[in-house]
Symmetry: C2
Subunit: 372 residues, 2 copies
């Protein structure tokens, strides 16, 4: 989205959220947003856009990096351009329910950086620029299964992202996002991870174990080994939240409802003698449940049973036809309480592609550069 | 309590509960109940007795160890006795609210072992026998501040307890036990710690850090340095629960109410610019709050404010006179929600002595050996 007195150029993009399987928690450089550990994520098939004041330091940093690349191209002998003089009008919109508390800044910065790269005609590894906006935004630049290698260089040049496999690699994988009803006020993850680095003894042990865990989940993804994928994902989520609790003062993102979901997932898996579902929690109480397409009806039935809701739009996203007839035997879950209205709603999605350019008809700005 | 056809002997004892400041979590020997790390506790001024089936393996183990010591005395040249032929009648009573979910097996086994040692006339380190009943029972054999050194020997001979300071050393120290309303079903700590040893990577890091932490809390206790005492106590509680969360499947003892109490305690301490209160949580959601006598009225006022209750017996134990006039400025706590009826009640107590023999009039058995 772009405006100049006699010449208006604009670009409209969308960008996905991503959910980390091996979590990013702790920076080795606050300014360059370099992580203490590598992380692995899956990009979700959901669009999201975002808004923020132009005065934000990270936003400025992202724009100046794009301009730097643009300037570099010019020097390299490409056509001279006036782009560096342009005034920018940026408009963003979030079509992902904000209540989901998802990594919205990640999708937002990925979208912005992608849009700016198209507008300024710059190429190269834009994930490094996205990272300057929000660490995990660099993972949203790719679709499918993504690794963010932490790198060792002081300037962060080797802190880069790479696709492990595209979203088409494991088409059976599904994600249910369980948006819990009691959204509590959280410690911002930026502040939270800083405090963890300063105070948590256990974080050091975690950092030692991450490389092995990453190797294992890469293998599980490439082999489509759901049982291992689930176990590693759940263990990593639990370990992240353990480190949060070991932080001083402690940070707590999981609520009673989150713990109830965890308990239910383990009960489902135990009853199934193999992992049918995996949970992962970010810096909030909402659960991301992973499963295979064939198990979605069973899991949805169980969720309906334990978290009854009268909302006709309780399940959103990918449609699952009809009333299921999954014959779940609830005697295996006799320890677990039914909690009406524990969940606000559920979003049904799957791994998806990276950012893309949209048809200009869908733009958010008028040709005068003002929000529609 | 003891019965023989023509000869009845009995002894009635009481024994205190203890709360760990540096927690015991994980055994290096399941049968001998030898811990992976040393722990530090404070014995509370509360009595408790307990009941259990005689068939219990640990109970049998405790009785046979007492008899072994008795036999040894006899061989050593003491008067021969018929005690080894005695039939035992044991009766126990718990005057500590079971809802408090306290380490009741610890107090119960400490009491039993102490009573048996009096009855059989055996001497020596009975804390090692108490340990065979329930690990942390060995700490209830002493009053005041107690350390349980983990020991290294395979047979556990060097796994012993020792008093750091008697309860009279720090007479200003007070304990509030916050019994929360929603008592959830917990993983038994025996099973829980076993699973942690098998599955938690973070437990290893914890074990490496405990010796230093123990040195620091011993110093804080000896110097009556409440600020440090509070910080170490809270960090250790948080770390134990972090390890529980890192266990697979995860173990969760803390509820939303527990986390709310933690948040409130940190807010109080921050507002006070120095630690006024410390929390510690065992294998359940109830909080043990430590503070100095002078701060009890302020802390009680704040607890009344955030956890309003209409129960006339809301505060139990040591009496705090009248309506306090502590002038707490609640604007410092504007982030924290008021939760009516979050707490069932509060027990106000302080560090206390070890087990003692009671007047026989207070016995629980008739002279026929039956419960009164």
């Amino acid at each position: 989205m772009e405006l100049a007195p006699d010449d208006v150029e604009w670009v409209t993009c969308d960008s996905p959220v991503n959910i980390a399987l091996i979590k990013y928690w702790g920076k080795r450089d606050e300014k360059l947003i370099l992580p203490l550990n590598s992380s692995v994520s899956v990009t979700l098939n959901q669009e999201e856009v975002w808004e923020q004041s132009m005065k934000n330091a990270r936003l400025q940093s992202v724009i100046s990096q794009i301009k730097r690349l643009c300037r570099k191209r010019k020097i390299d002998g490409d056509q001279p351009n006036e782009k560096l003089q342009w005034k920018l009008h940026i408009c963003s919109e979030n079509n992902f329910p904000t209540a989901a508390g998802l990594a919205s800044s990640a999708a937002g910065y990925a979208c912005l950086v992608y849009a700016l790269s198209k507008l300024y005609g710059v190429e190269g590894d834009i994930s490094k620029i996205a990272r300057l906006g929000s660490g995990s935004a660099c993972r949203s630049i790719h679709g499918g299964f993504v690794i963010w290698n932490k790198g060792d260089a002081e300037d962060g040049e080797d802190s880069s992202t790479e696709q492990i496999a595209p979203e088409t690699h494991w088409p059976e994988l599904r994600v249910l996002i369980l948006v819990v009803s009691d959204q509590t006020k959280h410690t911002a993850s930026t502040v939270g991870m800083q405090t963890s680095v300063e105070t948590s003894d256990l974080l050091h042990q975690r950092l030692q174990g991450v490389p092995k865990r990453i190797e294992r989940i890469k293998k599980a993804i490439l082999r489509k080994d759901f049982h291992s994928f689930a176990e590693i994902t759940m263990k990593d989520s639990n370990q992240l939240h353990a480190v949060c609790l070991d932080t001083y003062p402690p940070i707590s993102y999981l609520t009673d409802t989150s713990h109830h979901i965890m308990q239910l997932v383990h009960a489902i898996n135990q009853d199934n003698s193999s992992n049918m579902v995996a949970y992962s929690f970010d810096a909030g109480p909402n659960a991301f449940l992973f499963m295979q397409e064939k198990d979605v009806p069973t899991v949805l039935d169980i969720l309906h049973y334990f978290y009854p809701s009268s909302d006709p739009h309780f399940i959103r996203g990918i449609h699952v036809p009809g009333k299921h007839d999954t014959h779940v035997d609830y005697t295996a879950f006799s320890d677990i309480k039914v909690i009406p209205r524990a969940l606000k709603f559920i979003i049904h999605t799957k791994p998806g592609p990276g950012p893309s350019v949209q048809e200009s008809d869908n733009g958010l700005l008028t040709k005068d550069g003002l929000p529609k």
